[in-house]
Amino acid sequence: MHIPDGFLSLSVWTTTAVISAGAIALAVKKTKLSEETEQIPLIGVTTAFIFAAQMINFPVAGATSGHLAGGVLAAILFGPWIATLVMSSVVIIQSLFFQDGGITAIGANILNLGIIAPWLGYGIYTLFKNINSPFIRNGVIFIASWLSIIVAAVAVAFQLYLSGIVPLGVSLKAMLIWHSIIGIGEGIITVVVVKYLFNRQDQVFLQTTYKGVPKHE
């Protein structure tokens, strides 16, 4: 869902760049990584995983392809502030080094994948955080991840519309059709990875006292 250079109008890319820069500054202020040293390796590995997983496009309906975005995964593991930083790093590196996502579109891509998606997904996840049934909890994580892709797709549709490229209805419909399928992949991968890192005896997370990490079991 990375927007390339050339799609967004000047006013759209500058506005989204300002919003994202502000959000990153706030996230840096809110997360005191220097006090959470023991959390850093896990954040690093997760960031690397999200980058790697974003390279793996799976074919969808013979017409398109999708890959993990990872915002909700990062938000469930570390809370939404760190998720914003993790996703922003990935988007910036992809754009600067791999020409995946335009440089002028960095702000919009961070807004969609690093702010809107993880915060919405995390909001849904926290609403049902205290449910003990693993089945329901996995269902919630799946739906939160799927919806995060849907809202990000809606955000892209609005940015295309505001840039004067396509009418709103047309862009919404086209974006939602494909991303409602691509989002299923997001849901499955997020459930599996969260389960792997959380729900076992040797939990990575029990070693830390990090406040942003929800306690499980």
């Binding site: 869902m1 990375h2 250079d5 390796p41 690093g44 590995v45 390279m55 969808v60 020409q99 797709a153």
Partner: protein, 94 residues
């Protein structure tokens, strides 16, 4: 770092280096929409290219080209984070 995290990291290296060359080359969701609605030609060439589309321009074997790009991506991400971690670990113990 415990065992589980190491496994997760090894898995990450495997997907970035060995599995990424097999990723689908079909247009992604947004590209599909841009093609269907006819605004794909608005896309501008990037200002410069380092690993354009996860490839190395001077490596002709596509598998190797993508694999090296994946590995470089992991370096670009993990080296600064490791550096930051060591810096703070040292500061804490001093």
């Amino acid at each position: 770092m415990n065992k589980r995290l190491w496994y997760f990291f090894v898995f990450t290296i495997i997907i970035a280096v060995f599995i990424s060359p097999f990723a689908s080359a079909s247009p992604d969701g947004l590209e599909r929409v841009a093609l269907d609605l006819g605004f794909m030609e608005l896309e501008k060439e990037p200002l410069y290219e380092i690993f354009p589309d996860y490839s190395l321009t001077f490596v002709s074997v596509e598998y190797v080209s993508t694999a090296i790009s994946g590995l470089m991506g992991l370096f670009i991400i993990t080296i600064p984070i490791l550096g930051y971690w060591w810096m703070h670990k040292r500061r804490k113990t001093e």
